[in-house]
């Protein structure tokens, strides 16, 4: 109980610090918000341009792709406003020795990093446009909507996404990668498209080895009630497996770091 209370207190403090910080740079906030809306608009224009030339992409119509994109942006924005920022800083923390400071604190480092740089302000416009797009796609489709199934699969998607971020960030314990944020951003961007466009080995990789399919395409299909029980079970299985693997690699990396920096 004390453990939860301690973390809750730290989360509140992190939110307070980040809120104060952002309010001080209100103008920057305005420009970044505009930038996000612009990037979002450009993505929509891109897909609109594609659908002008093709009725479907990988068998998905434009409304299904809006649901997919809405899901993609929800995951991207929430993860960037919460856990990604902390994990992206690992290479810097290792280089400047700050990681030792965090390791000496009586908190779980993985959990601490996932909320240390939580951003409650920037997420507001971001999540609004993402949910807006999701519901626009939902309102335009003729399929039977299954929100409960979507929310459940989305929760699994977040765990898989978090696990992949942890795995990629753990590489830093072995060798420093400065552009790690660009690297995982580019990998996750492959999920902006329906998984069905990918064929053969690539599809296998994106379904099992880096299971982007389960992060974006599967939740979007869950929303339109297109998932079989087998696929739901597979999602749950993949979620557990990846969380387990990520914990294993993280602990291995930490051990290696601690033994090297004694």
């Amino acid at each position: 109980m004390n453990h939860i209370k301690k973390h809750l207190n730290l989360i509140i403090q992190s939110i307070k610090i980040q809120t104060m910080d952002k309010l001080e740079v209100a103008l920057a906030f305005t420009f970044i918000t505009l930038g996000i809306i612009l990037q979002f608009t450009i993505t929509i224009i891109f897909f609109k341009a594609i659908y002008l030339r093709s009725a479907t992409i990988g068998g998905w119509d434009v409304n299904q792709v809006y649901i997919l994109l809405g899901t993609y942006f929800i995951i991207q924005y929430i993860s960037w406003s919460t856990y990604i920022r902390g994990f992206n800083k690992i290479s810097r923390f290792i280089e400047n020795g700050e990681l030792d400071l965090y390791l000496s604190k009586p908190v779980n480092l993985k959990f601490f990093l996932s909320y240390r740089y939580i951003d409650p302000i920037f997420i507001i416009p971001q999540i609004t446009v993402a949910i807006g797009l999701l519901f626009y796609g939902v309102s335009q489709t003729n399929a039977d909507i299954n929100i409960l199934s979507y929310l459940f699969i989305l929760a699994c998607a977040f765990i898989i996404h978090f696990s992949l971020i942890v795995i990629i960030s753990s590489i830093n314990f072995f060798t420093i990668i400065r552009q790690v944020d660009h690297l995982h951003n580019t990998i996750f961007k492959l999920g902006q498209y329906p998984i069905t466009i990918y064929k053969g080995f690539t599809r296998l990789v994106l379904s099992i080895i880096i299971p982007i399919a389960f992060i974006y395409s599967v939740p979007a299909r869950a929303m339109v009630g297109d998932l079989s029980v087998k696929e739901i079970l597979a999602t749950i299985g993949i979620t557990f497996i990846f969380y387990f693997i990520s914990s294993l690699i993280w602990n291995l990396g930490l051990k290696r770091y601690e033994s090297a920096h004694g």
């Binding site: 103008l27 906030f29 420009f31 505009l34 341009a49 093709s54 992409i57 990668i177 690297l183 498209y193």
Partner: protein, 264 residues
């Protein structure tokens, strides 16, 4: 103008980039990963079509490879805003050196270095996937590409430094970069060739310089433009370069007055 001091800047910047070559390679690896979706997406779109708006599937994939390579090489952000914000600009303005030319030669070294480092990767892709790509065999096309890349580098540099100068009047101007980066990349045609966009967006693109830093270069290289169109395009590139040079000069003078007035 004493060119030797700027060639030294070029050499130093080159050396710096050489030391950080792994970062450059990761940059290209990232660009390569993006190509995976491009390849499969256009494969899907072209499933029942031989061509679209005059592009064959091979040309489209080649377009993305070259635009990805070019932009990963020649679109490199400048630290101008940071230098104004932290006052390190003062180091340059007290020296017998032009800050703008200094920045130009420094960024030129970075861009040329990236173009050279990325070239074997591009050649390797063409070697492996030659059946799915459009191989340009006309030597003139390569010459045109080099000329147009040179002007594209100049346009992007001038635009970049101009955006950096905003810091003279506004703190935290770096947040604007997120907007300008998206605009530049979009109108340069890195996301999709401009001709695929709705007409009104194509019209907007015609009035901006960015089309001439990506889309135009590759269309000319792929042999999709006639001689007159290429000469006209290069003329537009030169016109934009001159116009931006003038604007940069004016903004620099005004900005410097403001910078010196606050005693930085």
């Amino acid at each position: 103008m004493n060119l030797s001091k700027y060639t030294t800047v070029f050499k130093n910047s080159w050396q710096f980039n050489l030391e950080y070559r792994l970062d450059t390679l990761v940059r290209f690896l990232i660009a390569l990963i993006s190509l995976i979706s491009v390849f499969y997406l256009w494969n899907d779109i072209f499933a029942d079509k031989a061509e679209m708006l005059g592009y064959s599937k091979d040309q489209i994939v080649t377009y993305y490879i070259i635009v990805g390579y070019l932009f990963a090489s020649i679109y490199a952000g400048l630290p101008t805003a940071q230098e104004i914000q932290d006052g390190s600009l003062s180091i340059y303005i007290t020296k017998p050196i032009s800050f703008i030319l200094y920045s130009y030669w420094q960024s030129l070294a970075k861009k040329v270095f990236r173009l050279i480092i990325g070239l074997p990767i591009i050649l390797f892709i063409f070697f492996i996937y030659s059946d799915n790509l459009y191989l340009v065999t006309d030597p003139k096309a390569y010459l045109i590409l080099i000329i147009t890349i040179f002007f594209a580098i100049n346009i992007l540099f001038l635009f970049d430094i101009l955006i950096g100068f905003i810091e003279f009047w506004m703190m935290h101007s770096a947040s604007i970069v997120m907007i300008t980066d998206s605009i530049v990349a979009f109108f340069a045609g890195t996301l999709i060739p401009i001709v695929f966009l709705p007409n009104y967006i194509q019209q907007i693109a015609n009035y901006l310089p960015f089309k001439y830093t990506g889309f135009f270069l590759i269309d000319a290289f792929l042999g999709r433009l006639g001689t007159e169109e290429i000469i006209f395009g290069i003329g537009i590139q030169i016109a934009w370069t001159l116009a931006l040079m003038l604007i940069v000069k004016i903004v620099w003078i005004q900005g410097l007055k403001k910078y010196e007035a606050v005693g930085a």
